[in-house]
Amino acid sequence: MAIEYLGLSNINGPLVVLEGVQEAFFDEIVEFVVDGNTRKMGRIVELDEDKAVIQVFEGTENMSLTNTHTRLSGHPMEVAVSPDMLGRTFNGIGQPIDGMGSLTSTDKRDVNGLPLNPVRREYPRNYIRTGISAIDGLTTLIRGQKLPIFSGNGLPHDQLAAQIVRQASLGDDSEEKFAIVFGAMGVKHDVADFFRKAFEESGVADHVCMFLNLANDPVVERLITPKVALTVAEYLAFECNMHILVILTDMTSFAEAMREVSSSRGEIPSRKGYPGYLYSELATIYERAGIVEGASGSVTQLPILTMPNDDITHPIPDLTGYITEGQVVLDRSLHGQSVYPPISILPSLSRLMKDGIGKGYTREDHQDLANQLFSAYAKVGEARNLASVIGEDELSPIDKRYLKFGEEFEKRYVGQGPSENRTIQQTLDLGWELLGLLPKEELDRVDTKLIDLYYPQEAEGV
């Protein structure tokens, strides 16, 4: 196995071609030594008999056709795993960068993971209280779910993610082991610092395992970062029985990196230049969330992606939405009105919500109340459109009440303090209080029995 190959036959962007290789296999990891001192890693992405196309993680700078020694490692991309990884910081391919020495663990895992057999999945039903009304009440986060935050540049998605981490980790059942795996792909130094500080301030820093590929780190490394992070998350969840919250930011950089590599490989592009396998590739990342039968741990994913030009139909958010179990969408105009968190209610959704709320989980009225709030808020939009045409004064009394409801809803229900932690009771009661601004007859999504029980009595005839 210890054959070293001298030189390369081609270098093109992040890809190099090596000829005359023997016994190489698809997806194998290779090591390069450049000028006898710099070490780099790469992955075989295409094989044609004895010709291997290799993706170099650290970038091809300084490599020449003659100064490089290449050695096959004999295994696919692996990462060492151990419970000691919590509290540590690694680079995008899992090497420690916090100056605390290397890991002693010899326990290694293939980062590509394997698809989880649907018959051995456990359907997620336990909700996670985040203390944020817009999420708890309307797009409830469930343990084992993958719920991305669709954001834009300049919106407070990082603050929101940090708040969720802070408040969700202080859940009711503090006996269960909880940890965070943080994977950063192509993020700015400030963002990485923000998260590090947020983790320290909330006292969870020693439960966090960070993988950082910063904006100026090699692009190809980004392709492997989420896989490394999820491999560690799966290990901690299913073998160490911990509840893991994985934060991946920013998925857009990941997809961009894929496009870059794909185009230098000369592949046929599909939509907007992204490769045809973007969906499959995103799916192999997002699908690595869930609960395995028999293990008490879980992997919950909270990926963050910035929608290019705030366009939700752009391929990255679009394909993501088709894979993930809902999405939380942030809105620039709410942000402009200083509403925090600026969650755009209508396009936000949690697919697993229906089975994790209601009687026995949160409260019997939760589902109906949420439906009613969605439906009422959709009408607010219609009333606003009408008002912008004919003027607010000309609106019918009922439309005026909707406007009032919309305003209060955005200010008090969606909006809350960055450190405000509401209980589920508070969130639900607030919802009813706001519905009290509307006449009873307008509540067409709620079972009549629930209206009698929860509709605020004094509100009638406001």
């Binding site: 999945r121 939405g321 969605f374």
Partner: protein, 590 residues
């Protein structure tokens, strides 16, 4: 089997591998790749290059490893044991894979498609001397509590029965019947058949559609019905409820067998179907829904080539049950993932792309898929049907993309899901103005005979009201609703009753989740009766505000919750209520 052809791997590119030189492989033949014997299929042959798509992850394959043919095309095993089971895209039972490989799906697992050890209670239906041909039922096996599996002579086989085993317990591989063919050769028949997935199973002939597939969903059954043996597409952006609609149909449709294909979708969804369908009881037979269901799960993180095959695997299983004389409904969720798998493989093969990178043969593949649906006279003279309901996930929710557009050409039912309805949590979010069903004229006779002669007329009247509403809303958007005359305000009000009280249906409400045709008709009847009476009042000059004050509109909207399914006669009282409302308005304001 004749001597096996083998070749050596030359190049690897993702799920596609190349072999150099003439291999003697056949097109669409199943092959075993490498030391781990990964399953693959030959997709292109050339004088000096053979291309193979591999149904499993290819990491770890080396050039030089051998590729061996199986001698037959990629096919499925057909025998008892298919129902109440969950398979991957190439008919490998996920339960057995989990037993062998643990919670994660490892590569190169070799398991039998169906349990070969299990002994089935078998009743033979032929006797010595009988002339049998393709499709003749030779034995009956109670496969689940709900379904009797009819073992048939494979198509293209014909002969005289020379020996039959007595009734008893047999495995799927035991010989049940021996026949002598015309050329004097003897052939042993067991319960098992194999059939290539890309070839439609033969039938006698095709019937035209004349009976609806009743789904218990009002907007489908009443507004846009699909026939047994029909095709329908459900396109919609993410979060609009494609999967929920498919689940609802899979649960409540009056088909005998449901084949649910999860093609490139979420793993949790398959788990949910599996859990939920095992607990839910089929209202018609009283057995768990899983007893009539087969799941094909190729989730989005499973290998892409098998995703492409999963659709055909499901179809072939469906056709097999159709040949027994059953009505089968296929839920394909989602056909866009299948089209994307085609695109991905096409890209790897470096084919010339057509629209949006999809291969040029997308349209012909889609048409071939949907044309395998139909109500058929089977080879044994019975009648069976395959209905296909395919979800489409258009990119960006934009229906002008190639998969939606091409699908539209080949299906006769189009249930367009609408984002704004979904945002307002109006479910099912099927938009009444963009959807259509070409089956309505074909099914009018059935509705008239089995529900009511007035059915189609009522349905059309409701559609007219909804269309009127939409054009009135254009005005309301510009100048507000207050300026409309009262008769137009009434149309808006009645359309609201139709939307909220009839079209909207709550899948989580025990009475509302599935509604019989009789109740659907009576609900329409009540709504239209209310409209007639209210129109009279408006014609007398009564303002809408007076009519609305009586609360009758809300009452009619709540029918769906207030009238339980086992006591539909309660609906008759509503007409009295409407009369009371009519009289009371006249009394107060006359």
């Amino acid at each position: 089997m004749d001597s096996k052809n083998t070749g050596k791997i030359y190049g690897i590119n993702g799920p596609v591998i190349y072999l150099k030189g003439k291999t003697g492989f056949r097109m669409s033949e199943m092959v075993y790749v490498g030391e781990e014997r990964l399953v693959g299929e030959v997709i292109s042959l050339d004088k000096d290059m053979t291309t193979i798509q591999v149904y499993e992850e290819t990491s770890g394959l080396r050039p030089g490893e051998s590729v061996e043919t199986s001698g037959s095309a990629v096919s499925v095993t057909l025998a008892p044991g298919i129902l109440n089971n969950i398979f991957d895209g190439i008919e490998r039972p996920l339960d057995q894979i989990a037993e062998k490989g643990g919670a994660f799906i490892t590569r190169g697992v070799s398991v039998d498609s169906l349990d070969t050890e299990k002994k089935w209670e078998t009743h033979l239906t032929v006797s010595e001397g009988d002339l049998v041909h393709g499709g003749t039922i030779i034995a009956e096996v109670p496969e689940t509590r709900a379904i009797v599996h009819k073992c048939m002579v494979p198509p293209e086989v014909e002969g005289t029965v020379v020996s039959v085993v007595p009734d008893g317990e047999y495995t799927i591989q035991d010989t049940l019947v021996v026949i002598e063919q015309a050329n004097g050769e003897k052939k042993e028949l067991s319960m098992t058949q194999h059939w290539p997935i890309r070839v439609p199973r033969p039938v006698h002939h095709r019937y035209s559609a004349n009976e609806p597939l009743i789904t218990g969903q009002r907007i489908l059954d009443t507004m846009f019905p699909i026939a047994k043996g029909g095709t329908a597409a459900i396109p919609g952006g993410f979060g609009t409820g494609k999967t929920m609609t498919q689940h609802q149909i899979a649960k409540w449709a009056n088909a005998d067998i449901i084949i649910y294909i999860g093609c490139g979708e979420r793993g949790n969804e398959m788990t949910q179907v599996l859990e939920e369908f095992s607990e839910l009881v089929d209202p018609r037979s009283g057995n768990p829904l899983m007893d009539r269901t087969t799941l094909i799960a190729n989730t989005s993180n499973m290998p892409v080539a098998a995703r492409e095959a999963s659709i055909y695997t499901g179809l072939t299983l469906a056709e097999y049950y159709r040949d027994m004389g059953y009505d089968v409904a296929i839920m394909a969720d989602s056909t866009s993932r299948w089209a994307e798998a085609l695109r991905e493989l096409s890209g790897r093969l470096e084919e010339m792309p057509a629209e949006e990178g999809f291969p040029a043969y997308l349209a012909s593949r889609l048409s071939a898929f949907y044309e395998r649906a139909g109500m058929m006279q089977t080879l044994n003279g019975g009648t069976g049907s395959v209905s296909i309901i395919g979800a489409v996930s258009p990119q960006g929710g934009d229906f002008s993309e190639p998969v939606t557009q091409n699908t539209k050409r080949f299906v006769r039912c189009f249930w367009g899901l609408d984002k704004s309805l979904a945002y307002a949590r109006h479910f099912p979010a099927i938009h009444w103005l963009t959807s259509y069903s070409e089956y309505l004229p074909d099914l009018a006779g059935w509705y008239s005979d089995h529900v009511s002669p007035k059915f189609v007329d009522y349905r059309n009247r409701m559609m007219t009201l909804l269309n009127q509403e939409s054009s009135l809303m254009e005005i309301v958007k510009l100048i507000g609703g207050d300026v409309l005359p009262d008769d137009q305000k009434l149309i808006l009000e009645i359309a609201k009753v139709i939307r909220l009280g009839f079209l909207q249906q709550n899948a989580f409400h025990k009475d509302d989740t599935c509604v019989s045709m009789e109740k659907q008709f009576k609900m329409m009847d009540v709504i239209l009766y209310l409209y007639r009476k209210a129109r009279k009042l408006v014609a007398m000059g009564m303002p809408m505000s007076v009519l609305k004050a009586e609360g009758i509109f809300e009452k009619v909207i709540a029918i769906k919750y207030d009238v339980p399914n086992d006591n539909i006669s309660l609906l008759d009282i509503y007409k009295n209520d409407i009369d009371d409302f009519y009289n009371s308005v006249i009394e107060k304001n006359g």
